[in-house]
Subunit: 340 residues, 2 copies
């Protein structure tokens, strides 16, 4: 059997079966809900926990051809910062394992470095170490380390029935931008610039997440990098609950709607199963909704209620715009299944 037939979940299962763990690892591949998180968490036993997350991107398999070396460098940092943001953690720094083909231009490498550094500075952190190795393709494998008080840690496993389900920002923007690039859609320069910026130069919701972690009302948090449906299912499974959302409440940019309408793109497919939005999915104790809105306003980042948590275990549904209740498929963007 080839791993392309297993998909990412089958692949992770192999590691889960073979790996062992230790008691100071409070979230990880082997802990009950660790599989639903993008990071591992180490208990430092002094009231703080350490968040460790790693993400690898390869030029050939992960980057649209239009992405510049600077944007690649930037993205290799952002994907990891976004995982820290999902937990509300403050970054301590990043290290980078970098694979490079020997015929890469030095100028391109400099651009990659500039992109990494700019992204790190944007989140008040730095890339402080790493390793370079010769590989066939450009490979940027970043690891970010974050720290947070144990009591403030945001996870995906504490959502309760009745909690508000909300997202930051707008959904589908990055996926729409990707379609513009991949299908070379004839959109206006303004729309192209606006939407592809989400694809090529994503931002992580770190600052607002660090503030939200302190209000003790965020019961679950994750970043929406693999599509909303998949992220909702992860929260539901980790928390042992259900989620019901409403299609008309999904926040999308006018531009995204326009492009999807004009070029007959399935907007729901983009939002649910392509993703890469680098926004946060949150479940919130209703008593803290007002406080959340205050933080939203202060940071000038929209936080929209899209539904609520139910007691129907693992049932993730959406009331669509025609009034029908549909089941959202437990399907995310799976690069192995998609491309194999």
């Amino acid at each position: 059997m080839k791993i392309g037939e297993l998909g990412e979940i089958g692949i992770i299962k192999i590691f889960q079966e073979e790996f062992s763990s230790l008691p100071h690892i409070i979230l990880g591949l082997k802990t009950p809900t660790g599989i639903y998180e993008d990071t591992g968490v180490i208990d430092l036993k002094d009231g703080n926990v350490l968040i460790v997350t790693t993400d690898l991107i390869g030029k050939k398999t992960h980057m649209p051809p239009e992405m510049t070396p600077r944007q690649m460098g930037r993205k290799s940092v952002i994907v990891n910062i976004s995982d820290l943001a999902a937990m509300g953690a403050k970054p301590l720094g990043l290290v980078m394992s970098i694979g490079l083909p020997s015929d890469l231009d030095a100028e391109d490498l400099k651009e990659i470095a500039i992109g990494m550094n700019q992204a790190a500075e944007e989140y008040e952190t730095c890339v402080f170490g790493g390793d370079t190795n010769m590989t066939d393709d450009v490979i940027l494998a970043g690891t970010a380390i974050g720290i947070i008080k144990k009591e403030d840690l945001l996870t995906r496993h504490s959502a309760k029935p009745g909690d508000i389900v909300a997202v930051t920002g707008y959904l589908g923007s990055s996926a729409a931008g990707l379609q513009i690039l991949m299908q070379n859609l004839a959109v206006s320069p303004e729309i192209k610039k606006k939407l592809t910026k989400y694809t090529l130069e994503p931002k992580a919701q770190l600052k607002i997440a660090m503030e939200l972690s302190k209000i003790k009302g965020i019961t679950a948090s994750g970043d929406i990098t693999d599509g909303l449906a998949w992220e909702l299912h992860k929260v539901a499974a980790a928390s042992g609950c259900g989620i019901k959302i409403e299609e008309i409440k999904l926040p999308t940019l006018q531009e995204t709607k326009k492009v999807s309408k004009e070029f007959d793109l399935d907007l729901l497919e983009l939002i649910m199963h392509i993703g890469e939005d680098f926004e946060l999915i949150l479940t919130i104790n209703p008593k803290k909704w007002e406080k959340v809105q205050e933080i939203s306003k202060k940071n000038n980042i929209k936080i929209s209620q899209i539904g609520h948590v139910t007691d129907k275990k693992n049932e993730v549904t959406m009331l669509d715009k025609n009034g029908n209740l549909i089941n959202l498929k437990k399907k995310g963007y799976d690069q192995f299944l998609t491309r194999s």
Copy 2:
């Protein structure tokens, strides 16, 4: 200019120029001696420091064809544990960014996972998280996190003139094993098995390093993965001193000597510029030499004096077996220069 012409040092220089740092990073790409270390060090401000190290290995570019998937998995852990060992740090755990081609056999992936886990268990730690991505080649980018009391941290920058220069174990074994594999040398099965084990299933000197870190007499420490000459130069440059060693004192296995003689391999080249020995180079306050020997005996790991630290800044010399003093070239194994 292609990066293959720059070599690893030129590549690192690009990152050093572009990156910024922050005060809590006490060893890193931008700190005065950080460039000589394989790890970054974060001050946790509670008396402890966090060691973060990352290493990427690719199947096509870093593994002899004889290396099994299990051995690959093992090695991806060992290279990182060895970097923690060099600092005397206790591992808290590892995360793995894994790139996989979709036509890889699931059975091979399982073997990679087993190898990783066995290696982690051997050093009383675990792989607790990671990320899998589709790539052309098998890429294993591990990051290890370690912790140590700030006062116990071993670095390369505190060697003093008069200190003893010593190494653990035997030198050249791994490089000799690699030649046996690459040139398919007609050696006896016993010798092949013994030497290639160093190449295919290296061990890190973690336990003894953790003990040595507590005696307050190890003034510099590093692992010898890029050849002894290179590692000596790093210690000399980081500490602002010189080093003089003696060829006849270099500890080598009988088998290594035999193979190098029979097949006309340049033993000094193997030791000095190929390396991958995963042994430690140490500089030791002479007053603590006896204590070091005690620890050596207790752990059943040979620690041999090979020379001493001098006050001749950056001068790294060797008294060869003919009584000539030669300069050891500041040259390590550089995969970019070698293979480009």
